[in-house]
């Protein structure tokens, strides 16, 4: 028995038993601080290169406070009907764009799924194609479509349809790859051909997942649809950008409030529908 009181732990013994904790190599001890230091240094360099300065910050914040004060109380002025129509346009763009994207993405996603098309030679060009579409922002697609069909909400619908096509293609094909093989094999065993396998073995498993994703995208597209008007593709963004540029701050705050309320309402409705379709557990 040692003569030392018990509140001194046996350090030497601990060191011997847990060398990994007491004698970590220098490289692993320095890794985290070095990464943090590098990240912070890059932040500082970035702030410098992007022309941040305390003076500009202060002046801007002063302006911002002033603008915020000007926003109260939110007031649509005399253009409430215009705004409501624009909001309707935005919701229409979101709904139609998402549905169109889903319709076109479904067959393509079958071609991009590993369990349907096993050969990588056919699959990977389709995947790269979907990635490319996804890499381009919705706003850029909106500009392209404005060149094709002219200004207005129709260009917005097409922009959302195209950019979501990329996202859906990927998500759907992942859902299809995650489907259970046994049901497909069952259909094959009872003499079904490839189309039967997809229709009766695969789609019943995949459709609820897809429906959930489509609803989720309608939700998030309501957000995107509010901004594509900024480049002229219809909807409430057009009004918003106009009011911001003409410094009508009370109208701006009213429009922002409208967007917040509409997005919250769509969120609520679509999450209820989502739960109804796929059950509460599957989403969590």
């Amino acid at each position: 028995m040692s003569s030392e009181p018990n509140d001194h732990p046996d350090l030497a013994g601990l060191r011997a038993r847990y060398p990994a904790i007491f004698f970590r190599p220098l490289s692993s001890r320095l890794a985290a601080p070095l990464v943090l230091l590098g990240a912070a240094a890059l932040l500082v360099v970035g702030l410098y290169l992007l022309e941040f300065s305390p003076a500009r910050m202060l002046a801007g914040l002063h302006q911002l406070v002033w603008i915020t004060l000007m926003m109260f109380p939110p007031n649509p002025g005399s253009s409430l009907p215009t705004y409501l129509a624009a909001m309707g346009e935005t919701l229409s763009i979101a709904l139609l764009g998402t549905v169109l994207a889903a319709l076109f993405a479904l067959p393509v996603s079958l071609l991009a799924a590993r369990n349907i098309v096993p050969s990588a030679i056919f699959r990977s060009p389709i995947r790269r194609f979907l990635d490319t579409i996804r890499g381009v922002d919705t706003l850029i697609w909106a500009l392209v479509w404005i060149n094709v069909v002219g200004l207005g909400p129709f260009a917005g619908v097409l922009a959302i349809a195209v950019s979501d096509f990329g996202a859906f293609g990927k998500l759907f094909s992942e859902a299809i790859e995650g489907a259970d093989k046994k049901q497909v094999e069952g259909v094959r065993a009872s003499g079904g051909n490839a189309l039967h396998e997809i229709r009766f073995g695969l789609l019943p498993q995949v459709l609820p997942v897809i429906a959930g994703q489509v609803l989720y995208f309608i939700e998030s597209n309501t957000r995107s649809a509010t901004i594509i008007g900024i480049v002229g593709a219809g909807g409430i963004g057009l009004q918003l950008a106009e009011q911001i540029r003409t410094l009508e701050w009370q109208n701006v705050s009213f429009l922002i409030l409208m967007i917040l309320v509409a997005v919250a309402a769509i969120d609520f409705i679509s999450s209820r529908l989502r739960f109804a379709i796929i059950g509460r557990r599957a989403v969590a």
Partner: protein
């Protein structure tokens, strides 16, 4: 004697069949109603969005020929036959792309730092007080619902044209988006270490630092990397409203019909997004293994 499948007597069977048919009919009815409502919504939407199939079919050729045009140099040759001519502005464009990445980096990091601080206040299990939690949550909701480009529009007026407005817009949006994801992660932690720290007399800050933080760091980093990816895409269009980055060049090229420039800049943006995607994917995998994505 062979075991036979027992067949129910007629009247009993009829009742069961009837119930079955009714259940199926009810389900079919519900499906039909849902489909009708959906079709009506689509119809209303197509009126609202001024969908005009005739316009589409008349001009769909434009869509194809637009790509034809942006892939043609002024001399009439295809762009890939003369790469130096196609990417004539690569010097300036690469610089602007660097600026775009830097905007999203600085924006994401400063948003992440703020969101990091707020997430402990917003999470149900670690929040010091209920009303503080309520206020922070509403604030974060506001930050992520208002699109970042709307913030950028307003900030351009307050802070002047340039990347600063873009950075601040992305940062604010990040506070909302990351703050929510972070706080959900904090809500999912194991509370026993927190109780342990509290039992040894640690205060709120000590609890967060020694009990919560070690459990969530990996997840936080993973979410931040994902958000950085998203923000690179967002920063590529910040220039549309004058908030810095490559978007400024792109919108000028599109508006002024510098066709081959449009495709060159688009190619550069897509490549950049790919590289960032692959890079952050690699970093996530490296840092947290397969399930780091969760």
């Amino acid at each position: 004697m062979t075991a036979a499948v027992s067949i129910l007597p007629g009247p009993q069977l009829a009742a069961l069949n009837d119930a079955y048919r009714k259940a199926v009919a009810r389900k079919r009815m519900r499906m039909a109603v849902a489909a009708a409502v959906f079709a009506a919504a689509l119809f209303a939407a197509s009126v609202g969005a001024e969908v005009n199939l005739r316009t589409l079919f008349t001009y769909i050729g434009n869509f194809v020929s637009y790509f034809d045009r942006i892939l043609t140099l002024e001399s009439g040759a295809r762009v890939w036959t003369d790469i130096p001519e196609w990417f004539w502005g690569w010097n300036k464009w690469l610089w602007l792309l660097g600026e775009t990445i830097l905007i999203s980096y600085v924006g994401t990091l400063s948003g992440a730092i703020l969101g990091f601080g707020l997430s402990f206040v917003a999470a149900e299990n670690t929040s010091p007080s209920i009303w503080l939690r309520f206020v922070v949550r509403r604030f974060m909701e506001f930050c992520r619902t208002v699109p970042d480009i709307v913030f950028a529009l307003i900030f351009v007026i307050a802070f002047g044209l340039g990347p600063m407005a873009g950075v601040l817009a992305i940062a604010i949006h990040c506070v909302g988006a990351l703050g929510k994801q972070y706080s959900e992660m904090v809500e999912n932690i194991d509370m026993k270490p927190v109780e342990g720290v509290r039992a040894t007399g640690g205060g709120w800050v000590a609890c967060m630092r020694f009990a919560v933080l070690p459990q969530v760091t990996a997840g936080f980093a993973s979410y931040s990397l994902l958000r950085f990816e998203i923000n690179v895409r967002g920063a590529s269009v910040m220039g549309f409203v004058g908030a810095g980055g490559i978007g400024q060049e792109l919108i000028v090229a599109i508006r002024k019909f510098y066709y081959s420039d449009v495709s060159a800049i688009l190619v550069l943006i897509i490549l950049t997004v790919f590289v960032i995607d692959i890079g952050t994917g690699w970093a996530r995998q490296r840092l947290f293994g397969q399930d780091g994505r969760k």
